[in-house]
């Protein structure tokens, strides 16, 4: 666990075994953090993530998890 950074960035965990590539998370991310590649979701721009968790709430496959230590 990093303790040096002043502002903790959210972490996005993707379960590649469970993702079916429906792209719901990509469509409903308000900050365009995510993208589809090779049929599954990947993080495109983590810096833009505000940890709103709209991707996680709408992922039907429990495949994306946003971890924000501050929340």
């Amino acid at each position: 666990m990093k303790t040096t950074s002043k502002v903790k960035k959210p972490r996005i965990e993707i379960n590649k075994e469970w993702c079916k590539g429906c792209a719901i998370c990509v469509e409903f991310c308000p900050q365009s953090v995510l993208e589809m590649r090779d049929g599954i979701v990947h993080v495109r721009d983590l810096d833009a993530c505000t940890a709103c968790q709209l991707c996680e709430i709408r992922c039907p496959d429990f495949a994306i998890h946003v971890i924000d230590e501050d929340k």
Binding site: E17, W18, K20, G21, C22, A23, I24, E27, F28, I57, R58, C59, P60, D61, F62, A63, H65, I67, D68, K71
Partner: protein
């Protein structure tokens, strides 16, 4: 941070549902609602019938019961009568609950027994090959309606309300936050509670009706949902094709299991019944 995996039987994952199916979104909303209510896993009994949505309890670490087609509510009624301390939650679909199980559905509502029914309405029999269901909209296509559905659909929430349910609400998979809040209210309500969860089926319904992917179908829900307060000011023509969301019925009525308990208590005082 909410960890869904504490409720999952991870050995059963991944979910059987197709890419873009909304059932998993409803499932997660339900788990958040259960978590907010701080109900212990062993205090929940989740009962389902047959169909896509009815596969749901198999993935969850509650007391779970996967029953026969259309009969989830009857099994749940039995469980509630003998184990009234349990939160009995029924997971069912539009075909399961309103076609083969239609009679059970309306009579459980009439009895007003304390069950929470989460009814996944995807307008079709998904698992068995896209046959027309009682909620397939008029003119829409299904494998058994290749020229378009010639029948009128049920309004499930209206049916539950007319049959006597204490609590009836409708929400979409798109608006998962609203869905979570309504499921929470439904579990808290003592009496027969129905949450009609509108969920996209891109594989057997969307494809036949050219409604696109799961994403497209969620966007349709977004653009066509109307809160109940606004819908009350609209006429039937304006409401055509719209999804009215929110709490539709919330009323106090005598609850079946409590009335049974009152009888038991009354007669056990007189020494006529050992309870």
């Amino acid at each position: 941070m909410f960890d869904y995996e504490q409720y999952l039987r991870k050995s059963k994952m991944p979910l059987i549902w197709c890419a873009g199916c909304g059932d998993g979104i409803v499932m997660k909303a339900m788990l958040r609602a259960i978590h907010k209510l701080q109900i212990a896993k062993d205090d929940i009994c989740m009962v389902s019938g047959i169909g896509c949505s009815s596969r749901l309890p198999g993935y969850l670490d509650f007391n779970t019961l996967h029953t026969t087609h259309g009969r989830a509510i009857t099994f749940a009624t039995g469980i509630k009568m003998v184990k009234p301390e349990l939160h009995v939650i029924v997971i069912t679909g539009d075909g399961d609950a309103t076609a083969i199980g239609g009679n059970h559905f309306i009579h459980a509502a009439r009895r007003n027994i304390d069950l929470t029914v989460i009814l996944f309405n995807n307008h079709i029999y998904g698992m068995t090959g896209g046959q027309v269901s009682p909620t397939t909209p008029f003119t829409k296509h299904a494998s058994t309606a290749p020229y378009g559905n010639i029948e009128n659909p049920f309004d499930i929430s209206g049916l539950a309300a007319a049959a006597g349910a204490s609590f009836v609400a409708r929400a979409t998979a798109y608006n998962a936050i609203q869905l979570e809040k309504l499921i929470q209210k439904a579990i808290e309500k003592k009496g027969f509670s129905v949450v009609e969860a509108m969920t996209p089926c891109p594989t057997t319904y969307g494809r036949r009706n050219r409604e696109g992917t799961g994403v497209d179908m969620l966007l349709y829900q977004k653009d066509n949902s109307v809160p109940v307060a606004k819908a009350n000011k609209m006429d039937a023509e304006e409401l055509q094709g719209k999804i009215v969301t929110g709490v539709l019925v919330d009323r106090e009525k005598a609850e079946c299991r409590q009335e049974y308990q009152n009888l038991l208590d009354h007669f056990s005082k007189e020494g006529e019944v050992d309870s």
